[in-house]
Each structure stands twice: as structure tokens, then as C-alpha cells.
């Protein structure tokens, strides 16, 4: 499995997980000129931007570590673009991170960080 395929599989698993927890998926891989956001979902009244990070092992650090400050800033920029694009002005927003590490062909560890970072 290539890295790209692994990432795609991770995102599918994350989307399935989010729907199981009662959130509804609005967008997958929404992109603008600032970059791409993996999942946009709605959790009650919050609009949630989800970054999915999949890694085969934690040898190079845990998956969450890959969401560095620069990536957070990029997510904030994409979120702004999305809000402008959809015309949502007074909307509560949240940034989540989902970390996935496969332990077998059909099993994986999943960690969901709600409100993992903010725009300050």
C-alpha cells in the first residue's frame, strides 16, 4: 500500500467514525488556493474542520506531532476561505485532529482531538 493509499484509507475510516458519533459530513477534500481540508463536518451547531493524519508507526513521532504550527495556520486560512465561500458569517467553528495508526490490515488505533487548536 502506498502512502497515498494509506492516507485515503485513513480518511475513509475517520469519516465513518465521525458519522458514527453523530456528526454529519459536509465536504471531503475541499480545496481552495490555500490548500486542502480533509473533512468538513457539522457537530450540533459547530462547523468542524478535521485534519486526518495516518502513520504506519510512531517511530517518527506520533501522528498528531505532524500537525505543526505552520499546518495549523494553513488550516485557519482554509477555514476562512471556506466561510467566505459559503457565506457563513456568524458561525461557531472548531478545529479537530484525528490521528490513525493501523495495527492490522483491518484494524487501527484512532484518536480524536476536539478543538485541537485555535486561531490565536
Amino acid at each position: 500500500m502506498t502512502t497515498g493509499e494509506l492516507g485515503r484509507k485513513g480518511e475513509d475510516a475517520a469519516a465513518a467514525y465521525l458519522e458514527r458519533t453523530g456528526m454529519s459530513i459536509v465536504e471531503r477534500n475541499w480545496s481552495c488556493k490555500s490548500g486542502e481540508v480533509d473533512i468538513v463536518a457539522i457537530d450540533e451547531s459547530d462547523l468542524v474542520f478535521v485534519e486526518v493524519k495516518t502513520r504506519r508507526s510512531d517511530k517518527a513521532g506520533s501522528p498528531e506531532d505532524a500537525v505543526a504550527k505552520s499546518k495549523q495556520t494553513r488550516y485557519v486560512r482554509i477555514a476562512r476561505a471556506y466561510l467566505a465561500h459559503t457565506g457563513l458569517i456568524d458561525q461557531a467553528v472548531r478545529f479537530d485532529v484525528i490521528a490513525i495508526m493501523p495495527i492490522a490490515d483491518d484494524r487501527a488505533l484512532l484518536r480524536h482531538h476536539r478543538g485541537a487548536f485555535d486561531a490565536s
Binding site: S45, D46, V76, A79, R80, L83, D90, Q91, A92, V93, R94, F95, R114, G115, D118, A119, S120
Partner: protein, 496 residues
């Protein structure tokens, strides 16, 4: 979160010695989630964000995932310190209706630990005074509540942890603790053998808070004598105690002994920097001279201090306060202290010693003595020479007068001065001073003759008269006699 959530909470920031009221406004709204602090906050205040977030969660509250804007008003005032943690956290909790609204009517200050424990901060006493003058109840960090006992009439309740804000209605009103008795001084004058002239000079200096210089060879007992000054001085009165304690509190120094009435005794090392001595830094901090307010500043080995540091003492010695001028305004720290200094007569220390010969070249003696500088010497009222004591005399046990007797005489002299309408002889000037001395024509002539012979400046004559006035106070004499003038002249003019 669709409706708007707002709250404001009262706190203050310390500027100089007073706490200036600051209002913490919080607005929680929609938009990209963020936690923003505006209003000229320094790095320590900005770090509050991470402590506040952790403390709120650790105490079982929800930290809102929303756009949180904190404004510290008035915006042009520079804010510093970690005391904003508690008011910011409280404002967020009030805005999100997680604690009762009555919390916002209190004066709040304190640093938060990551688990939500509330810690004391420097300047708590100034906050307490500000809260009292605004007639506002104060939530005081429990671990530091002893520090605000001295503020009479303050309505204060301890807060141990952020979660305590849930139930703010249980009233614990603090009563002012009745005045504490000063403990007996560890160092007593009866341990100093001989040095009768120096002891008399110390007594006069202590009675009138005059500046004193002790000159003598190494080991002659200068430091020993100076360190016993604390046992001679009367206790601080209530207002002096509060003023001195406020300065100690701002500097983060322990003020327990001050609150017990003991006068501060500060003995900075001669390597002290100028800012350490007179105050300064960012944010500004009071220096040693302000910590010695209403007490004693002891400068051991005076000529070893940096000349710049010594000369910076001149203005506070005259004005009783130090003014730091900053781009955003002036900051005043009170600095009414009694200066006690010790010096060797020359670099080797034995100039004028009856037994050992001085080995210094003449040029280095002059240079050494000049380090103190004329203008500073002019502000020293009493200079006294101390010689080494004969070892045989030291070893023979003898009873010397104990501190308590000298302490009582000093107290009587101060009461005598007070009874005659003089609060501080050391700051009398012009006609007031002349009126207090009631000099007769013969004494005026005597004084004029001394002034001419010793080339005294106007300030020199004034200072000499003040010392003479104190000598007369010790003798409980309403007028300054010729004897008092002669003794004052003898205490001012010294040959090495």
C-alpha cells in the same frame, strides 16, 4: 454557540506603589476559535492564556471553543505580571454562566497553577488598598492571606482554587489582627566593648535619623556597631508599617518582620548595580533604598561602591523619594531612610592607627577618599572615627550598657521632639529650623565661627544645626546650647 457572552471583572496593575484599577472585559463569540488578549499586556500576561485554559478544564469547567477576546482597560496603561490569571479566568466563567455573576463584583488578583490553584503575586498589599478605597470585596489567594491582614477595614475572603468561585456566598470576613509585639532583637549593644564616642554618635544618629559614617581600620567594629542599630530604633507606627510593607510586597520580599513593627535594615553588597540600589528595570522594581524606607540603609565599605551608584543616592537623600522617568510616565518610590555607612580611612585601612603604619602612597589615599565625593559627604551629618580596641580590654569581661537603655533614651528624645511640634528633625529647614533651635546671639556667633573655619556649605550648616537640635532633644533642652553646637561640630568634622 450563537448568543453573545460578555462579562467584566475588576482587578488592578501595580504602578509605583499603588495599584491602578483595571477592568478585564471578556467577549465570547462565534468565528474562528481563538483566545486573544489585548490592552498593552506584557509577556507574562499573554502567557496567562495557557494557564487559564488548563486551570479552567482542571477544575471541571468547560473552556469555550469559541472566539474569546479579552480586553484589559484602560488600554493605554501598561500591564505586567501574572496576577491577571484569576480575573481573566473568572471573567470567562462569568461570561459563560458557569459561576454566579456576583463573582464579578469582587476585586480579583492571583496567579493560577495548571491544576487551578490560586497563588499570591507581588503587590497583593497594594491591591488590597485599592480594593478598600473602591469599597469592593476582595478574593485573596489563600496561601498569601496573611499579607493583607494589615489593611484595616478590608472585606477579604480567601480563595484556594478556581473551583471555589462556584460558591462565592459563604462569607469569611477577615478582621484586622491586633498589633503584633516586636520580638527582641538578636543583636544587642552590650556585646560591643569600648567605642564610647561611636556609641554616643550612634545614639544621636538614631534619635534624629541622621546619616552616619563610621571610619576606622579593619576589625575595629564598624559593622558590628552598625548592625546593632536595629535594636535601638523605636518600632514602626501603623502608617509607617503599611508603607514599608507595601514596598516589600511589591518587590516580592518577605514583609513579616515589617508587619511585626521592626524597622527595615538593608545592607546591600558593594557590588550592587545602580538599578538594584535606587530601583529600576522592566517592569520597574523598587531598589534597596526604597526597601529601607522608614528604616536603615547600611552601606558597608562605602568607597567600594561604584561611584555612579553612590552619586545616585544624593537626590533620594534630599527628597525622601526616588523618581524613575519612563517613556510612559514617572514612577515614584518613597525612600526615607537613615544612611549608615562604614569606610576604611585608606586602602590598607591603617591610616591614623596608633600602632600600625599605613603603607599606602599619598596619592592612593586621596583617590580612595575622593571616591565617596564631596556632595555625598556633605549629606552625611555625623562622621565618627573608630579605633581598634586593646585586646586586653576585649578579653576582660565587663558590663556594657544594653540596647534597651539606649532604646529608651532615644524614645524619650523622639517624644520630646514630638511634644514640641517636630515630627522629623532631619527634614527641618530655614526659619522652622531656626525657630526650633532658639539660638542666642552668642551661640549664633559660635556657629558662624565654626562654619567659616571649616568651610561649611549652607547645607552643611543646616545639617549641623539639625544634629545640634537632636543632641538638645536627648538632653530634653528646649533650646540648643553652646555645648550641643560644639558636640555637633565635633561629630561632623573628622580628620582621618
Amino acid at each position: 454557540m450563537s448568543p453573545q457572552f460578555r462579562a467584566s471583572v475588576h482587578t488592578a496593575t501595580v504602578r509605583g506603589t499603588t495599584a491602578v484599577d483595571v477592568i478585564v472585559e471578556v467577549d465570547i463569540g462565534n468565528g474562528l476559535p481563538a483566545f486573544i488578549i489585548v490592552g498593552l499586556a506584557d509577556a507574562a500576561v499573554l502567557e496567562a492564556r495557557d494557564r487559564v485554559r488548563s486551570a479552567i478544564r482542571a477544575c471541571g469547567f468547560d473552556f469555550p471553543s469559541a472566539r474569546i477576546v479579552v480586553n484589559l482597560a484602560p488600554a493605554p496603561l501598561r500591564k505586567h505580571g501574572t496576577g491577571f490569571d484569576l480575573p481573566i479566568a473568572a471573567a470567562i466563567l462569568v461570561a459563560t454562566r458557569q459561576v454566579p455573576e456576583s463573582v464579578a463584583h469582587h476585586h480579583l488578583v492571583g496567579e493560577l497553577s495548571l491544576e487551578g490553584h490560586v497563588r499570591g503575586v507581588p503587590g497583593l498589599l497594594s491591591h488590597a488598598l485599592a480594593a478598600r478605597s473602591a469599597d469592593r470585596d476582595m478574593l485573596v489567594p489563600a496561601e498569601a492571606i496573611d499579607r493583607v491582614h494589615a489593611v484595616a477595614g478590608l472585606n477579604a475572603r480567601p480563595i484556594r482554587i478556581l473551583a471555589d468561585l462556584r460558591a462565592p456566598n459563604q462569607e469569611h470576613v477577615l478582621q484586622k489582627r491586633t498589633s503584633l509585639t516586636a520580638k527582641k532583637h538578636a543583636l544587642d549593644l552590650d556585646e560591643v566593648v569600648g567605642h564610647e564616642a561611636a556609641k554616643r554618635a550612634l545614639e544621636i544618629a538614631a534619635a534624629g535619623s541622621h546619616n552616619l559614617l563610621l571610619v576606622g581600620p579593619p576589625g575595629s567594629g564598624k559593622t558590628m556597631l552598625a548592625r546593632r542599630l536595629g535594636s535601638l530604633l523605636p518600632s514602626l507606627d501603623d502608617s509607617e508599617r503599611l508603607e514599608a510593607a507595601v514596598i516589600h510586597d511589591i518587590a516580592g520580599c518577605d514583609s513579616t518582620s515589617i508587619l511585626a513593627g521592626e524597622r527595615p535594615f538593608r545592607a546591600p553588597h558593594h557590588s550592587s548595580s545602580l538599578a538594584g540600589l535606587v530601583g529600576g528595570g522592566t517592569p520597574p522594581r523598587p531598589g534597596e533604598i526604597s526597601l529601607a524606607h522608614h528604616g536603615v540603609l547600611f552601606l558597608d565599605e562605602l568607597p567600594e561602591f561604584a561611584p555612579g551608584a553612590l552619586q545616585s543616592l544624593r537626590q533620594p537623600l534630599e527628597d525622601g523619594e526616588v523618581t524613575l522617568v519612563r517613556a510612559d510616565g514617572r514612577i515614584r518610590y518613597p525612600a526615607q531612610f537613615m544612611l549608615v555607612a562604614s569606610a576604611n580611612p585608606c586602602p590598607c585601612g591603617f591610616l591614623g592607627d596608633p600602632e600600625r603604619r599605613c603603607t599606602c602612597p599619598a596619592s592612593s589615599i586621596g583617590r580612595y577618599q575622593n571616591r565617596i565625593g564631596g556632595p555625598l559627604m556633605d549629606r552625611i551629618d555625623i562622621a565618627v572615627r573608630m579605633n581598634r580596641i586593646d585586646p586586653a580590654r576585649l578579653l576582660a569581661r565587663q558590663d556594657c550598657e544594653g540596647s534597651i537603655h539606649v532604646h529608651d533614651r532615644i524614645g524619650t528624645a523622639r517624644e520630646f521632639a514630638f511634644a514640641h511640634g517636630r515630627l522629623a528633625t532631619r527634614s527641618l529647614i530655614g526659619n522652622d529650623l531656626l525657630a526650633a533651635c532658639k539660638l542666642e546671639a552668642s551661640e549664633r556667633q559660635l556657629l558662624a565661627a565654626h562654619a567659616k573655619r571649616h568651610h561649611l556649605s549652607g547645607r552643611g550648616v543646616t545639617r549641623l544645626l539639625r544634629v545640634a537640635r537632636t543632641i538638645a532633644d536627648l538632653a530634653r533642652s528646649e533650646r540648643v546650647t553652646a555645648d550641643a553646637v560644639d558636640e555637633a561640630v565635633g561629630l561632623r568634622i573628622t580628620t582621618p
